[in-house]
Each structure stands twice: as C-alpha cells, then as structure tokens.
Symmetry: C2
Subunit: 359 residues, 2 copies
C-alpha cells in the first residue's frame, strides 16, 4: 500500500470551497483502490491568518511543509492585504523556496461549446505550457530610489541565470520529445535586449541536443495574438515566468475561463514537495456563495495523481472532467449550470466511480 | 495654406508597399482641399541599409528627422539582421530619442465579421490603449555576467521614473475625461514588487486630480483574459511599455488581425516630431508579393491627420476604412478579398472622394 502525504492550504476566498471538492476525489479513489491511500493535514495560512498574526504562514512554515509529498493549495489573496505581501509571502515563497521551477499548465479545450472563439474545436486547442517558475521577472529584485522626490525612479530587475534558464528549457525539450510534439519558445529579444536575447540563445543551444524536436520561436506579442487567432500552432510551449503568467491566462480565456485552469508547480528532482493549485485565485466577489467552479481544483488532483506515478487515476479523473462538461445541469453557473460547488463535487465523484477511461 | 512636412521611412519587408498607399491618401486630400498640402522626403533606412552601411540610419539621422512635422514609418526588421539591433537602433531609438512617450493604439472592431470571437459586435470592442512608450521594461538596461560560465546570469532592468510614469498616466486621465470614458490601468503589482507597486501608486495619486473619471485596475494576466472574454469592459486603457505591447496584439487578434493595427507615437509637447506606423511589422513571408494589407498604414494616416489638427479629414479617412471593409472584393486576402495592395490603395482613394462622414 502506497501512502501519499498531502499538505492542504485551502487559503483565501473560494480556496477552501474548491479544495474540499478535490479532497472528495482523493477519498473516492482510496475507496476504489486498495493499493493507495492519502493523508491530509490542513494549514490555516493565508490572508485571514495574516490579519491575525501579521504573517502569511508560520515562521517555520517551510520546515513544516517539507515532509509532505505534495502541497494542495486553494487560493491566496484577499482585499485588505496587499497582493505583493499575500502572494510573495506564501504562493511565490513556496514556488521559489521549494525550487518548484517547472509550472505545468495545460491549455486544453474540453468541449467546443466552452471556447469563445469561432470555428475552433477540441483538436485546435490542446497544448501544454511550461512556465519558468523560480526566477526571471519574478525574482523580486529591484530598487526604489528618491522616494517622493521629482527624481524618483523605480527599478525592477529580471534575473535569468544560466542554470535556471537551461533547466526549464531542457525540461521542455524532454517533454516535447517524450510526447512527440513540437516545442515553441516565447520570448521578446527585440525589446528585452539582455534577458530575452540570452533566453533565445539558450533555447538554440539546448536544442542542439534535441535535433529530433521541431521548434518554433515567437515574440510574446505575436504569440499572444496567435493564441487567439491560431492556437493550433502550439503543442508544447516554454516561456519565462511573466510571459507564462500572461499567455496561460489567454489560454484560460480560449478554453472556457479560469474555472478550468490548473497549474502544477513541480520540483522535478523531488528534493522538495511540489505544489498543485487551481490558478483562478481567491475570487472574493463570489467567495462564500457556494457557486465557485471546483473543476480546476479537481484538475489539480489529476495533475497530482500523475505526479505521484498514479497516471491511470490521473487520466481517469481528467476523463471524468471531460465527461461532466456534457452534464450541464451539474455544472456551476459560470459554465451555464445551476449546481453549487458542493453538488458539482458530489456528482463528480459519482461519475468518477462509473467512468472508464474515455480516450 | 497649411503645409505639413512628413519624413517617410518605408523601411523593410512590406513597409514600402503599404506606405505607398498611405501616401496616395495624402495626395488625394491635397486635391480635395486647397487649404492643406503635404511634402514628403524619403529616407532609405532599415535593414538593407544596415547590411550595406553597418548602421540602421545615418549618424546624424535624428538631426535630419528633427525638422519634420511627423514621421511615417512602414516597418522595421528583416531576417539576417538581429531584431535587437534593427529595432533598438531605428524604431525604438526614434520613440525614445524624440520622447514619443505616448503610444496611442485604437482597438476598434470595424465590422463583426472581422472578430474571431463569438457573440461580440462593434459595440463590444471599441477602446483606446495608451501605452507608455519611452522607458519601463524597454529601457534597455541590464547586465550579462559570467558569460559562458556555469554561474552566468543575465539581468534586465525595467526603469520606471516618477516623471515618465506620471506623465503617461496623466495623459490617459485627460483623454478619459475629454472623451467621457472609463479608464483602466493594467499592471502586475502582485509579482513585480517594485515597478508595478509604484505604477499602481501613481495611478491612484494622479487619479485624485480626476475624481470625475471612473477607474479600474487589472492585473495584466486578468486583463489579457478579459480582452478575449469581455472586451466590453475596456474604454481607455493605460499601461506600461511591455504590457502595452502584449495587450495591443491581443487587441489586434480580436479585431481582425495585424493588418488593421495602427499606432501613433506621440510627443505631446511637439518638441520633437511624432511618428505614425502600422504595427504589423515587416512580414518577410509576404513581402514583395503585393498582397500586404495597407489598411493599417492608412489608419496611421488618419491618426496623423488628427495629430495635425485636421480632425475632419482624420475622421473621414477612418470612416472610409470602415466603409471599405464592406467591399470584400476590394480587400486583400487576409480579409477575405482578392485585391492587391495597390488595388486596395486605389480603390480606397476613390471611396474617400465619395465618402461623407458616416458617423
Ligand atoms: C497570483 C499571482 C502571483 C500568480 C502569478 O502571477 O504567478 C497567478 O497569476 C498565477 O498565474 O499563478
Ligand atoms: C517591433 C517591436 C520592437 C515593437 C515593440 O515591441 O514595441 C512592436 O511589437 C510594436 O508593438 O510596436
């Protein structure tokens, strides 16, 4: 019997509501499969915690998390706590502190009714965006000089290390090779004359080790346009932290919205736990109303199962997500249904019990 | 008789083909209106020039351009010359050297058939993006350390000055007030913990002078999503250099592609000439084939006429662009037609002669 230890950080806003549905999925799998079990320990960290304790997580929070196989995060951020505190001291702290340098974001259209694009179907939108997740534009380096004076100037420095750039690009090449897909790099060498020229150079260099992988390289502005005009151009995509943030939200837009967007923050070496999260954020406007869509959080479960080596289960959860999309009356309002978050979770589990692999 | 002196830099790729059509429009206006005239001087600068002379423009190029009322640029960039040279030493050099700190990019759907979005019409997509155009992420500041060593690290620094940030934001507030529209700022304070926190602060500060303007503030990732999901949220938009680059390409995508995207690089004080350009780039793949869409370049003419204070003509050119979209047989292939670049230009001029203001 394999046991996986999962740290739950439900966090803020709709986080707790959607994570609860994901946990139901794990429990259902335990029931169906004697060979696996999951333990959960919940951490009350987030903005409420901050307002009470003056910090987003415990002093020794990273130490506490270290022992787990994975972290399942709901959402972080809430009115009253500045984002640059709430996120940098929890979400981004974990991503960087645990060297989760690979952010895997599928951009997959589950059903053609979900895309706002004319004439695009499931076969046109099916890519994996691999986002650098540990440095780059998010390094947090900068200066704020002459505050309040006319000569005030603020500097924000992106940090692109050889190690950091090479490892994410190599990871992407390996993924493209493994799955026999093309690889597209997104950068901006014509304007960011240091970092992105370097990025392009590393993309080319590492590419020499992968002559079998077909590659493309787009400027971020052109890529953003193509995500909308011709998403079929993309299969595996590799890009920097900031550009990955932006293009994956365009990816969410073309596949039916943030309610279906998931992200895995991976430390491939497994030196530290990896973290899995829906990327919709805390959505304070709908928090507590029981209408948050839990499918992104459930998709995170699928990614976590893959990561645990339980690919059959990962695939089955994914196929059930694809299936439930056809049952409109059992979806939340953002997907045209009338079900509550809880009801979607319960119905999902029922469906999962019945679903064979669909592919 | 008012005379306006225009410097032509047709540049690379399809640049010369489309600029030639724009020039036809000016000549037609001269014929119809005795009170204005335009002079043109052409500069052969660009990538071909670079390959022959080792530089993108003459040593004293900026000096030569200074005397003109406006610069009409086609496109810059061609295979064989690295983008970070061709663009930084011509396009970006002029933007910055002439302190053209306002980049005005209309994102306006001319006809519902042009958008790839389901259920969106002309009334849903009609905004003006005001992009900071002189500093920020494009400042060109950085370091490339330990080249070729394992500890190699590349730094790219965005530079946000009080002066630069305030003036673009104030310009945007004034435009929103003048046209009685909402103003949306796009930033990323939750990750870019210096520059974008500063940006947000200035947006708020300057806003106190404009209590009559309704404002919104979005993260760049959310804004990118909304451009696709709900473009009707946006009226006047203000954002940084890089974010403006990205979101205006999404803007192009939702309004029918780069063949209809124009940008005015404005020095509001008129200390230096302003520059007008279609933003599609040199499109080497279709250069010389006579199929490039000249309508973006013609839209630049409309922007230039507005800038000259000839708003009636600016509007009439714009209305003719709206009108020609209905004449599919007279459009280039990218818009579903079969006409050549030249034919579109000639037909446009005919139509302009007949068109009254449509609005
Ligand atoms: C919340 C925010 C800091 C985060 C990011 O920018 O990475 C989010 O947008 C994401 O995509 O995971
Ligand atoms: C060509 C390039 C340097 C330029 C930019 O990034 O500003 C272009 O994309 C634009 O939008 O005008």
């Amino acid at each position: 019997m394999k046991t996986f230890h999962i740290a739950l950080i439900p966090g803020d806003g709709i986080g707790p509501e959607v994570v609860a549905q994901g946990v139901k999925v794990f429990k259902a799998i335990e029931k169906m499969d004697d060979s696996v079990s999951f333990t959960f320990e919940e951490f009350p960290w987030g903005c409420e915690y901050y307002l009470q304790h003056g910090k987003m997580m415990d002093e020794d929070g990273m130490e506490q998390l270290k022992q787990f196989d994975a972290i399942y995060l709901g959402a972080v951020g809430y009115p009253g706590v500045p984002d640059h505190i709430s996120l940098r001291e929890l979400l981004i702290k974990i991503r960087r502190g645990f060297d989760q340098y690979v952010n895997l974001r599928p951009v997959t259209l589950l059903h053609r009714k979900l895309t706002p694009l004319k004439n695009k179907t499931e076969k046109d939108i099916d890519m994996l965006v691999i986002r650098e997740n540990s440095e780059g534009e998010y390094a947090g380096a900068g200066e704020w000089l002459f505050k309040g004076k006319p000569e005030e100037v603020v500097l924000q420095t992106g940090v692109f290390s050889r190690k950091g750039t090479e490892r994410i690009i190599r990871y992407a090449y390996e993924e493209a090779r493994r799955t026999n897909r093309t690889l597209t790099s997104i950068s901006k060498g014509n304007a960011l004359n240091y970092s992105m020229v370097f990025w392009d150079q590393v993309f080319e260099e590492v590419g020499r080790e992968f002559p079998d992988v077909n590659t493309y390289s787009y400027l971020v502005d052109a890529a953003s346009l193509y995500f909308v005009e011709q998403p079929e151009r993309f299969e595996v995509v590799v890009t920097s932290n900031l550009f990955g943030d932006i293009v994956t939200d365009i990816g969410a837009a073309i596949t039916g919205g943030m309610g279906l967007a998931t992200g895995a923050n991976i430390n491939p070496e497994k030196t530290y736990p990896s973290m899995f999260e829906p990327v919709h954020g805390s959505a304070p406007d709908i928090a507590g109303k029981g209408i948050a869509n839990p499918l992104a959080a459930i998709w995170s479960v699928s990614q976590m199962l893959d990561f645990f080596g339980l690919e059959e289960w990962g695939k089955r959860v994914f196929c059930t997500i694809k299936e439930i999309i056809n049952h409109e009356e059992h979806l939340t309002p953002d997907l045209g249904g009338k079900a509550s978050t809880e009801e979607v979770g319960d119905y999902f589990v029922n469906l999962l019990m019945q679903t064979k692999e669909l592919d």
